[in-house]
Symmetry: C2
Subunit: 206 residues, 2 copies
Amino acid sequence: MGRTSDAREKILSAAQSLIELRGYSALGVAEICKTAGVPKGSFYYFFESKESLALTVVDAHWADQKRAWTAVLKDDAEPLHRLRRLFEETEAVQHAGRQSCGTVSGCLFGNLTLELSNRTEAIRTRLQEIFDEQVEMVGEVIAEALERREVGVADTREAARAVVAQLEGQVLFAKLYNSPHRLSPLWANCLALLGADAPRETVAGA
Amino acid sequence: MGRTSDAREKILSAAQSLIELRGYSALGVAEICKTAGVPKGSFYYFFESKESLALTVVDAHWADQKRAWTAVLKDDAEPLHRLRRLFEETEAVQHAGRQSCGTVSGCLFGNLTLELSNRTEAIRTRLQEIFDEQVEMVGEVIAEALERREVGVADTREAARAVVAQLEGQVLFAKLYNSPHRLSPLWANCLALLGADAPRETVAGA
């Protein structure tokens, strides 16, 4: 066993890959430790339970994804351009995942929502907070677009929910059909949901 | 143990409730039989494996849901009216589920897609066929609406995918927040995705 901090990182990294590929319930602590290459005894030194490991995986994944979303959505490009980049990057992430492990693993948060939200309140609450943050980030960009009269929505928060729901629904299909190309219509669907015409400079790049 | 056919039905019914509430991986055959009130030995008389039981549950659930979707979507009401009823009935089903067991269990097919599609090809294939059928049924109604110039879509199949994806995404949120009311914006979002104005008679009833 390497340094203490290494072992924790190895467990986290193994757990994230395994949960993304196979879900939470199908995994055991022994398998996570075997994949991580650390003795099983060290697991309980770092984590109270499998659930607390899952919460740590969720937090770490959101920290990474939030950094990526912030880089795109708080950029100084035009608002609709930023939304389009969010979808393009989502598609690129699923493409990369498929290339590295052969399968589209989808959205970790969506996967755990459908698998676990009715079974552990701690995970449900954390996932609610994450989706609330996603909706807020998207809603802020929609509000900017609304100010510029580039979209026609009555309620920016409801519109943001519709956009994130569309994202989750299409990611579900991308996983089911093991095809990241299923995400290509996201941009057109987002424009429709926002009552927007494609902005000129964006269409030119299409 | 009752009549043979009773035991099989009891296992199926217990498995459907348990899978809806807790997913597939977290369940064992022993628990399913205990809930069904049948001896464990009888399980393997009817089903080869837990996977073959899951496929039977999926088929039975789709047979029921397809009957309900057909009654609504192949009705002789106006096309957009039929789509609206589909969303209203989906919301009603989730309300009823929440009242009977305290939680929104979401869409069995969406749940199993995110939990299992990367793990068993037989279930992945069956779920693909079911979502293909759903998209086809919705697409036929959109094509009728297009003929009446009530919607403005370039590709009815792609539009149907967007509508079913929106449905799955919002059902995911309804489950996460344990709130069937999350499904209320489905109709407005569907109209936006289809580039449609709310038809007059439908607005009057809102």
